[in-house]
């Protein structure tokens, strides 16, 4: 295809490494095309008008002015373009990402809980039993129990909690249940085209499918206090084997 026509390539977007990022990036290119076209129609016309009708060249103004229907066509064009963007791209994309019906099943996915706090990301894995242990705020202790796991809950015993380290396997959907302990943060995986506010009192689900292995960062996009600028975590996408090895190593360390 005419790759050079795809504006996406010129926007300086970060690397794209999740299944849905192509869709979002394509939209980004298209909407910027619309903007560019509008601007490139108007700007030269604007400059030409200023030049053509300057007082020294056109001392007597024409009371009636422009008569063509060009403006109507242009306005209809904008409306049509926006409708296309809206109904062919924006709404369907949002539906795949946010409608509950379209979520991958938990069995086929890597499920983690992410609990944000000032200024760190706690990543909670269910452990070998695949069940998340219950949490209680009154048990939170910054050093020993950052997310307040209940020690007497059998499901909690094997749970794994990492700080600022998120690891997932490639090519398998990742479901994140996102929440926060204190203020609003925004969980951002730039390369996955994921951004979701973490809001205390709400547990918000999101999913994405990494399609490439690599090491990236988790950024916080919402102002959350003095440490907002340094609230960074690390995000690693492994091969399936690599992920299993990482998990094993973590369990071993936790068990020891």
């Amino acid at each position: 295809m005419l790759k050079w026509l795809d504006l996406t390539n010129y926007l300086g977007l970060p690397e794209a490494a999740s299944a849905h990022s192509a869709e979002i990036d394509a939209m980004m290119g298209l909407v910027h095309w619309l903007m560019l076209v509008l601007f490139l129609i108007w700007a030269p016309f604007f400059l030409y008008t200023l030049y053509r009708f300057r007082a020294s060249r056109n001392p007597k103004a024409d009371y009636y002015g422009a008569k063509s229907h060009f403006s109507t066509y242009q306005e209809v064009g904008v409306v049509v373009a926006e409708l296309v963007l809206l109904f062919a791209f924006a709404i369907p994309t949002w539906a795949t990402l946010r409608a509950e019906a379209n979520y991958p099943s938990e069995e086929e996915s890597t499920v983690v809980h992410v609990i944000a706090e000032q200024f760190a990301w706690n990543i909670h894995y269910p452990g070998p039993d695949g069940v998340f242990g219950e949490r209680d705020i009154h048990l939170v202790d910054l050093q020993t129990n950052p997310i307040g796991l209940k020690p007497d809950d059998p499901a909690a015993a094997d749970d794994l909690v990492t700080v600022n380290e998120m690891h997932v396997p490639v090519d398998k959907p990742v479901i994140v249940h996102l929440t926060s302990k204190d203020v609003i943060h925004s969980f951002t995986l730039t390369e996955m085209r994921v951004k979701q506010d973490a809001i205390p009192g709400l547990s918000i689900p999101l999913y994405f499918t990494p399609i490439r292995t690599g090491e990236w960062e988790i950024a916080c996009a919402q102002l959350c206090g003095v440490g907002h600028y340094r609230m960074r975590g690390y995000f690693t996408v492994h091969t399936a084997e690599g992920y299993a090895a990482w998990l094993a190593e973590q369990y071993e360390r936790a068990g020891a």
């Binding site: 977007l13 300057r54 709404i91 960062e217 960074r232």
Partner: protein
């Protein structure tokens, strides 16, 4: 409309009695004096807001390096050794946003221009409620003082951004309380002002001036006032709720089970952080149109006058404006796509957002087409008005990818958003307002501003602003978050675009340098400018044609004018001169 019973004609002589200095300049009820009070105060606030951001730009360009020259002036809680602390950066950011929006642009665009120009343009002796008008200025003033005072309370001013999202804002220090109290004052002031403007425009139009004979600027103020009137109260409610959360320990915005730095927060819980966002944006989206509509009105006036022809499609412009005003109430949650919105809500808000962009396109197109066939005079105000058009164009167009929820995912809370709205408010609104100053200065003072200095000011401002705000779009596309104390130093994805931080900062300081000719020009021209004719620009609207420059004391006009025609009858084929003022009776001016 013959009912003039209540208007004693030719009443000025009696008004000549000596008024005390206080009544005349401080607690004046004359809309012109109040307009100028608003103007001076808000320009000072703009300058102050700009200074705050110039400090921030140092930290963004050279993170962790001591601020040169003035760094030592600051206390150790803010900049020990001249090095800015992150707390202080956050204060500066929140206060910059708040001050620019609520204490800079709104009072300048509505308080100053609206007050000064609207009654004159509609041929009214004053605002409908002069005392209320005075009260609205002083309430605003008190709000401003409280806002400034908040820098001096323990732990400094508000640091939760101009959006004051809960729960952060609720657990922040005392500055936030001051912020809320100040906002209650500012909102109240705007409400009083809005009631006054609406009554004035509806009730005090001169004989013969129907709604469709009003200058476009008056229409813009009219719709703006509606936005203020109906969008501000929910934020007032929200401010009261947040105050109560802070002072009475209620939990309207505090969910159960908050743990801040390891300690369980002792509140009842059960509140919703999102409630604050809804109430805030219910105001703040209409608010952004409050920032831009008066600017559009000013631009329309200047363009019609300097192209020497009527505005293209006046009626379409008006209808678009009304529609825009109405729609602006139902798009607010496009600021909240990333808060976990489902399919139904996001579809609704994306659609309304796309719909609202259409009237803007129509307005801009109509303003452009008004130039076609004109005889364009490139006066200083005209340059500013022309600068507004493409700049607002860029700003508005960059709103589109934000308005589509899917593309908003990567862009939300990045510098793309910052770039988007600064293009609309800075090279957009600020240019237009400056154009307005150059345009109405002769009216206010009877003198003109220096043209050369004006042109230097224009080109310097236009160019440097683009060097500030265009790189923001680039950074945003690369994914750099906003409100970062170090400008994104630590993030890998930001490395390629970090160079722009220095470019933008230098451009911001250059921008400041180019404001000096403006300030000098403004101050010097007041006393020493060339004397201006009453109708300096050969304009058609009443403020120029029916009143002397500057207008006489209380009451504005010797006799209240009567309107005979549409507002922009420039170069009319049936009239010899190229302008045909609204109040010139037909028989006198031409034979037909």
């Amino acid at each position: 409309m013959a009912d003039h019973a209540a208007v004693p004609e030719g009443h000025h002589g009696e008004d000549g009695h000596h008024e005390s200095f206080w009544r005349k300049y401080i607690f004046s009820t004359d809309h012109k004096v109040i307009g100028i009070q608003y103007g001076i105060t808000s320009l000072l606030f703009l300058l102050f807001g700009f200074s705050l951001v110039m400090l921030m730009r140092w930290q963004l360009a050279y993170p962790g390096q001591p601020v040169p020259l003035i760094g030592w002036l600051f206390s150790d809680d803010t900049m020990p050794g001249g090095i800015m602390l992150p707390e202080f950066y956050n204060q500066l950011g929140a206060m910059h946003g708040t001050i620019m929006v609520f204490l800079g642009i709104v009072p300048l665009a509505v308080g100053a221009f609206g007050n000064y120009v609207v009654p004159l343009q509609i041929g009214a002796p004053d605002m409908a409620f002069p005392k209320l008008n005075m009260a609205s200025y002083w309430v605003f003033f008190v709000g401003g003082v409280i806002m400034l005072g908040s820098f001096f309370v323990p732990a400094g001013a508000a640091k939760a951004g101009w959006t004051s999202y809960a729960p952060l804002s609720v657990i922040e220090s005392m500055g936030q309380t001051m912020w809320l109290i100040s906002m209650v004052f500012l909102i109240t002031s705007s409400l009083l002002g809005a009631v006054n403007f609406l009554t004035t425009i509806v009730q005090l139009r001169a004989d013969g001036m129907g709604f469709m004979q009003m200058p476009f600027f008056v229409w813009a103020q009219f719709i703006t006032s509606f936005l203020l009137l109906l969008a501000f109260p929910p934020l007032e409610a929200a401010a009261v709720l947040q105050l109560s959360d802070r002072l009475l320990d209620t939990s309207f915005f505090m969910p159960s089970g908050l743990v801040v730095s390891g300690e369980v927060v002792d509140v009842a819980g059960g509140g919703s952080p999102l409630l604050w966002q809804h109430l805030f944006w219910f105001l703040a989206h209409p608010e952004v149109y409050v920032l831009v509509l008066p600017a559009m009105g000013i631009v329309a006036e200047i363009i019609a006058n300097n192209a020497r022809k009527p505005l293209k499609g006046y009626k379409v412009l008006v209808y678009s404006l009304v529609f825009l005003g109405f729609m602006s109430f139902i798009v607010w949650a496009h600021h909240m796509f990333i808060t976990g919105m489902g399919q139904v809500m996001s579809t609704f808000f994306q659609t309304t957002t796309m719909i609202i962009s259409v009237p803007s396109v129509i307005i801009l197109t109509a303003l452009f087409l008004s130039l076609w066939g004109g005889s364009i005079r490139f006066t200083t105000p005209m340059l500013f008005a022309l600068g507004f058009l493409p700049m607002f164009g860029i700003g508005g167009l960059t709103g589109l990818p934000l308005g589509l929820a899917a593309t908003d995912i990567p862009l939300h809370d990045t510098y793309y958003v910052i770039g988007h709205f600064h293009y609309v408010v800075a090279p957009g609104t600020i240019l237009a307002l400056m154009g307005g100053i150059y345009y109405w200065f002769p009216k206010m003072t009877g003198r003109t501003m220096n043209d050369t200095l004006g042109k230097i000011h224009f080109w310097g401002t236009l160019v440097s602003m683009n060097f500030i705000f265009f790189p923001m779009l680039i950074q945003g596309l690369a994914g750099v978050s906003r409100r970062l104390y170090d400008g994104g130093q630590i993030y890998a994805h930001a490395q390629d675009v970090l160079v722009y931080n220095e470019v933008m900062s230098i451009a911001a300081w250059v921008l400041f340098v180019f404001q000096i000719p403006f300030i000098v020009n403004l101050l010097v021209s007041m006393k020493k400018g060339k004397a201006a004719a009453d109708n300096h620009w050969n304009a058609t609207t009443l403020e120029w044609s029916a009143a002397p420059s500057p207008p006489v004391g209380h009451g504005n006009f010797r006799d209240l004018p009567t309107v005979y025609r549409d507002p922009y009858e420039y170069s009319h084929p049936d009239h010899d001169e190229d302008y045909w003022p609204q109040d010139v009776p037909p028989a006198e001016a031409s034979e037909n």
